[in-house]
């Protein structure tokens, strides 16, 4: 089994924004008990294969643009699936 580690809570208060979007309209004031994510050796192995260029491209978009981009991909995949199904004898 995987050795899942829990997460700890500290009581920092912080001002958080939508990182990466660089757009103040997405800024929100949050007083949170910040969740500390402890490194997990299993996750670290998986992390090595993550294509960060895709993530950085997404982070240049606003949250709404990210959502609409994914929606477009879902709709496109559905069209491809339907076309494939119709093409089969």
């Amino acid at each position: 089994m995987f050795a899942w580690r829990g997460h700890a809570i500290d009581d920092q208060s912080s001002l958080t924004a939508w990182p990466g979007s660089g757009r103040t309209q997405y800024t929100t004031l949050v007083t949170e008990a910040r969740i500390v994510i402890e490194p997990d050796p299993v996750i670290e192995v998986f992390k090595k294969d993550i294509d960060r260029t895709l993530l950085r491209a997404n982070l240049k978009l606003s949250p709404e643009e990210r959502l609409r981009k994914m929606q477009s991909a879902v709709s496109g995949l559905r069209l491809l699936r339907e076309a494939y199904a119709k093409s089969r004898p």
Binding site: F2, T16, Y26, T28, T31, D40, N58, E64, L67, Q71
Partner: protein, 163 residues
């Protein structure tokens, strides 16, 4: 089965005044994930008023238990929502999972203070924070989530690098 229309579902609920927080794969997308998801997962508030608003808002898109045989006497009304907690639904706008409570997070009221606010067509809605989303995925403990968790943690590193 129809492809889920995520913006339309979120807009329907915000226009209906429903109190909810986007979680799961769509929340990951909003935070920058490159993964694709097929359903919308929402943590909804279990107050009587909100349950009423939820039932009213969803009625036009005919929610039905996803994967269940047709013809069951299932009506997604206030009584059904009060009796249940978590619902996996198929609607005319696609797949919608409504959760009253979730592992690694708890209830709407517990998650709301740390949730973030995004805009969709000018309307605000709540999205779970990236850190909370990672905690949820870790708490679920599903092997299929390992790659997603790794991506979310990479996103967290990218965010912190930019700060």
């Amino acid at each position: 089965m129809t492809a889920t229309d995520f913006p339309a579902l979120i807009t329907l609920l915000t226009e209906g005044g429903v109190e909810f927080i986007v979680i799961g794969g769509v929340a990951a997308t909003i935070h920058g994930s490159a993964h694709i998801t097929v359903d919308l997962d929402l943590l909804y508030r279990r107050s009587p008023d909100n349950i009423e608003r939820l039932a009213t808002a969803l009625a036009p898109i005919r929610p039905y238990l996803r994967g269940a045989p047709e013809g069951l006497p299932f009506h997604f009304d206030t009584a059904t929502i009060h009796r249940g907690l978590n619902f996996t639904l198929q609607t005319t706008l696609g797949a919608l999972d409504l959760l009253g409570e979730v592992a690694g997070a708890g209830t709407y009221d517990k998650v709301l203070p740390e949730a973030e606010t995004a805009l969709l067509a000018g309307r605000p809605f709540h999205c779970v924070s990236l850190r909370r989303l990672i905690a949820m995925k870790r708490a679920a403990g599903r092997p299929k989530d390992l790659n997603v968790i790794a991506e979310l943690e990479a996103l967290l590193e990218e965010h912190e690098r930019d700060e």
